[in-house]
Symmetry: D2
Subunit: 408 residues, 4 copies
Amino acid sequence: MDFDYTDKVKDLQGRVTAFMQDYVIPSEEPISTWFAENRDEWGAAPMMDDLKAEAKKQGLWNLFLPEDSRGAGLSNLEYAPLAEITGWSPTIGPEALNCSAPDTGNMEILSRYGSPEQQEEWLKPLLAGDIRSCFSMTEPAVASSDANNIALRIEDDGDSWVLNGRKWWSSSALRRETKVALVMGVTDPEAEVGKRHSLVCVPIDAPGLTILRSTTVFGFDDRHEGGHGVLDYVDVRVPKSALLGPRGGGFAVAQSRLGPGRIHHCMRLIGMAERAVAMMTERAKTRVTWGEPVADQGVFQTWLADARIQINAARLVVLNAAFKMDTIGNKEARHEIAAAKIMVPQVARDVIDRAIQTFGGAGISSDFPLAYLYVTARYLQVADGPDEVHRRSLARAELKRVPLLKVM
Amino acid sequence: MDFDYTDKVKDLQGRVTAFMQDYVIPSEEPISTWFAENRDEWGAAPMMDDLKAEAKKQGLWNLFLPEDSRGAGLSNLEYAPLAEITGWSPTIGPEALNCSAPDTGNMEILSRYGSPEQQEEWLKPLLAGDIRSCFSMTEPAVASSDANNIALRIEDDGDSWVLNGRKWWSSSALRRETKVALVMGVTDPEAEVGKRHSLVCVPIDAPGLTILRSTTVFGFDDRHEGGHGVLDYVDVRVPKSALLGPRGGGFAVAQSRLGPGRIHHCMRLIGMAERAVAMMTERAKTRVTWGEPVADQGVFQTWLADARIQINAARLVVLNAAFKMDTIGNKEARHEIAAAKIMVPQVARDVIDRAIQTFGGAGISSDFPLAYLYVTARYLQVADGPDEVHRRSLARAELKRVPLLKVM
Amino acid sequence: MDFDYTDKVKDLQGRVTAFMQDYVIPSEEPISTWFAENRDEWGAAPMMDDLKAEAKKQGLWNLFLPEDSRGAGLSNLEYAPLAEITGWSPTIGPEALNCSAPDTGNMEILSRYGSPEQQEEWLKPLLAGDIRSCFSMTEPAVASSDANNIALRIEDDGDSWVLNGRKWWSSSALRRETKVALVMGVTDPEAEVGKRHSLVCVPIDAPGLTILRSTTVFGFDDRHEGGHGVLDYVDVRVPKSALLGPRGGGFAVAQSRLGPGRIHHCMRLIGMAERAVAMMTERAKTRVTWGEPVADQGVFQTWLADARIQINAARLVVLNAAFKMDTIGNKEARHEIAAAKIMVPQVARDVIDRAIQTFGGAGISSDFPLAYLYVTARYLQVADGPDEVHRRSLARAELKRVPLLKVM
Amino acid sequence: MDFDYTDKVKDLQGRVTAFMQDYVIPSEEPISTWFAENRDEWGAAPMMDDLKAEAKKQGLWNLFLPEDSRGAGLSNLEYAPLAEITGWSPTIGPEALNCSAPDTGNMEILSRYGSPEQQEEWLKPLLAGDIRSCFSMTEPAVASSDANNIALRIEDDGDSWVLNGRKWWSSSALRRETKVALVMGVTDPEAEVGKRHSLVCVPIDAPGLTILRSTTVFGFDDRHEGGHGVLDYVDVRVPKSALLGPRGGGFAVAQSRLGPGRIHHCMRLIGMAERAVAMMTERAKTRVTWGEPVADQGVFQTWLADARIQINAARLVVLNAAFKMDTIGNKEARHEIAAAKIMVPQVARDVIDRAIQTFGGAGISSDFPLAYLYVTARYLQVADGPDEVHRRSLARAELKRVPLLKVM
């Protein structure tokens, strides 16, 4: 048991930190201005290309992908503290390093389950940062928290699959660079529960596929990431070769993206919470009420101490889950992942909320990133499975566990 | 002691409910669409005029103003349950009845402290719903939670006051109908603490007054209410007659708007929380996970029960504060108001958050009003004095209180 | 709607307060000492007789009983603020006024459902404060939160009922003055659910009835109230006339004690929380850390403010429930009662916990009453139905409610 | 970074677990019965001697002491998971292995700062488990949370120190085996703050030292550990050689016991929380309400999942603090220790409270250990420095920290 980062990780932390400090943080204001001035743009601001080029040059690219041949070959445990640092600027940092959702998860699926043709067509340009992608799973008409409810039909029609249904929360769908949607639907309605769903790759410009609009998140349009698309699939036809992974294996395949995806989100949330702490600390030192800097006041100090306690605990939970993924596999580590997925957004939310309160009106505005960070944390209590689903899984596992000691 | 509404109130509740059901709720979607299609409009959608005309016709107008001669002559206790009902649709209901902030508070100040000229120029058209107004108090450069920090200078220069400084969170400043800003600033920097600040009325088109932009609230631009203006005052010159209330009496005068204003916000928040409950209940009945309607599941039922408990308690707290305002005066009732101001936004926030979680992705989007309601509740933990300021006042009062029994 | 106490209530508040201040509070230390020195005594300390005599003399007797003929004829709304005051010293005050559980509930049942013989034998001496009683419902072998689980058999055997089973949490069973147990059991196992249980009166010295021992509550033995008896019923035979209320009507009859009983507990909890506030305020003024009285420190002031907010809200909830019991009846008011039963112990617990933390080591000891008060509040989250049962009822009622406005 | 226990630790875990299962758990009931039947006994039940002999025989002795020569030579990181296991039965397990407070801390001080004579007289028999000891620091008359308030006078009088003052919370003082008190007091009232206090060793039977009584903890008398003594020191005279560590260095010396002591408490609390989970899980499987085992109900599952999340996080926090103590030293690790000291009791309290609620009346009684476990967790929010003191230290450290990235 050893709680110190390895030298390899410390070196990478230093390099990612320097990249964030030198390139990403200074880009925040110009990128924000660009979006304000280009109200119809859905996608990266132009300066993103420079950031990506610089990251590539520095070898800070595809750090998320554990495979040596395609990614940086880092373990989850090695990647976690780096993803955390990118979370300090979550709308820019991760994408600059080609480590942003939903592409990361899609690359993982394509890397593991994609056919050579699918890998050539979609994975290669994704790894290069040339295109983007979306993941189309959630549906507006049903409670997607129970994935068995997913109803989009993927019918077997000779040489083709034919898709009919409506999806939403297909993040990044509205970006101009997005070329493909990975779509979950029912191929085998008569099969047993758990074997009915499959995944297919659908070109975003496929006839019959219409991006109706984007949803907002607490008022934010999330244009920087291409929004959250509401997608209509009407007789969308793709060739049989578009099937991604085994027929009826949709849930198993999707898990290969959801496990790492969840933990990546948690890693970044730690960074967001750290940013909130850095900001509230700085602010409290410079604001005075009733003759005393806020930083010297007991109520603020309680917030700050609790923030530190919670963040440090949450980080350990994430690192431990990453370690388990590396050592016993994503599937066996699913309860550690679920625990992190429940705990970390709550911690981030609490911490950021106190930072907002420290800032007062400035905190709830978008003059500072706190309100956006808060919303991101809240969003993740719903996305990738709401807390309640993960609690249910954890409880059921706990009920099966044999306790260390027999006491009753 | 009697916890039943009077017949007069019950009658008004019925009428306001009918107005909301027949006119306001059906306007939500068209107004929302109008704002989506008119992205540069700051102010009421055109259908608001019809709603106001109808409300006037039905005698549901200026219900907030306790004075017989100008308003509806309702006590705070009578108005509270009506304001609650308007809170079910907070971006439309209150304005339709000419009961929306910040105008209500401004009308209260003008009614109590305005000179006949000020009343003729500003109060009369406000009461008629012909113009709107803003209140310019908070400043970006200081911690406004300690009002003594307010720094905008109002200098005595012969026949004029000359204003220099920057304000923000001047809500409604960007509406085209807005004609006047009530501005708090320092007229007497050498006076003792508490006697340095005064209020003046400044025409919104006064030379030197520039509306720089609006701030957002968690991503929402609040265009329906004319945003939250960031206002630059550079050598803004108004005549001496623009002084509102006594020189050096700015805080006392402002209190006459803040007390009722805070409790009005609380009343409406109760209605917002009730709407969230109505929505989550309905949603839970129609969504099924693992073979069981969400409404039948224990976790949801816990949320629902807690929502009911919290809302009913919060309503009593608000009604009691309103009763105290009516019977012992706003000043003596300040601790009851402060308690409501702390408790009710927290309750509303909790309740609405659970409704959001019940809705999942739909809850955090703007396809439903929940995300906006949540943000409104959160906003009120900062606006009109952050919770921490009110807790400080309450604690100091408590420390002076003689306990019922001597036990130590 | 009127939130002021009536003059009648104010007068009674003054008299009960004076009684508490002059007689009850000064008795706390000697009674506590008496119990420490008489470690085998289960029941009232000798000074209790004097207190009861004094209360009777002052006309402060049986205030809880709404019936003119037998009790003080106060409504629930009138009694609530008086019960609150007795809660400042909960182990002495209520009993001194003959207003302590479980006798109050038993008197209510006997008064409403008792036969003339039962009233003569048990009710009359209870009203006089000459004997005590217990209520035997909860069983160790089943989850009593679902009352249908109650399994003690009451068999019909000719002229007699024959009881077999085990009960616990029969509070006051171990007092020497206790003469009768009201026992819930199954008389009609084949009847439909809800009609299987009945109540019988069993003399505490009935052959076959053994008081095995008392349970503690978090380490407290509660000897002052006669503990919490574990009772074994083995072929306990009582005459047919011992049936209390209709056969099969056990639940309905029990409700007549549980409704008022729950709200009485809540009333007293408000008083306990007030005592905690009075104590923490006083303590904080006299203790200094890092050069500043604790009372002047922000963290303490936050606790104090929140205590005030929570207590005042909880009191309103209790008063409103009492009002509803008076105006629409206990049955129709059951949801208001349930809400109070959930909210008030939680509030009391929070408030008292902060008082304990203010006292530090002194708070968790029994040198001060805070630890006992805390445990009493915690106890009430389990007693008379755990919170979860009441939440379930509230949620089911809420699901049936028609919302004020139709919004979905 | 490695989150797996070493083989050495796994082996020890297995051995301690077996000892607990085979010897300690089966002793719980007879020891509890012995205390019930011997109401005036303060100290170990007779069966404790056998347990200690067995533990010694198995080499499970003094595991807490990192020094090879005297203790087991385990690092804090190695000891932590073992202490956790002893926490499953906290009134028996730790003492059986000679690892119970306050002796462990006293042995650490004596081992590090004791003179050869002190070590011979006190340390040696403590290590052998032949005597016990107490630590006399907290005082009833002042807020001990600010240690500078400690006022007991230790006057320099020729060859002697003369002690005058009153202490309380001197745990274990009432045990018959207790021979020595380590006493903190003021030797140098004129020195600068932080250099005024010193420690001396005082034989428990020293003339002038009177054990007045024991305080309770939420009703528990804690006789098994010798209670919590209230000690009067009146002209207690000890030789100059009784000084423990340097004169004026009392705080620094005490820290050498408080750091490890705090983390040991946290370790054991993890075990207590695990026991609560094991118990609630088992209970929920066997109790049925409304036709469904409690274990299958959503509300219970939420509690269980949250318990698992919180405990696992808390364990990581403790292990990381232990690792830091081993690698950077107790002083540098003080913030990690403080964080654990705040977080873990809160987690344990939450978890145990839910277990109590699952058990209902059985949970608050002493028929099961849950109520005692709860009180132990609550106690630790006050003992060894209340949470508020540790939050203050953490916040002040945080305010000095340089953030990873400069963002404001």
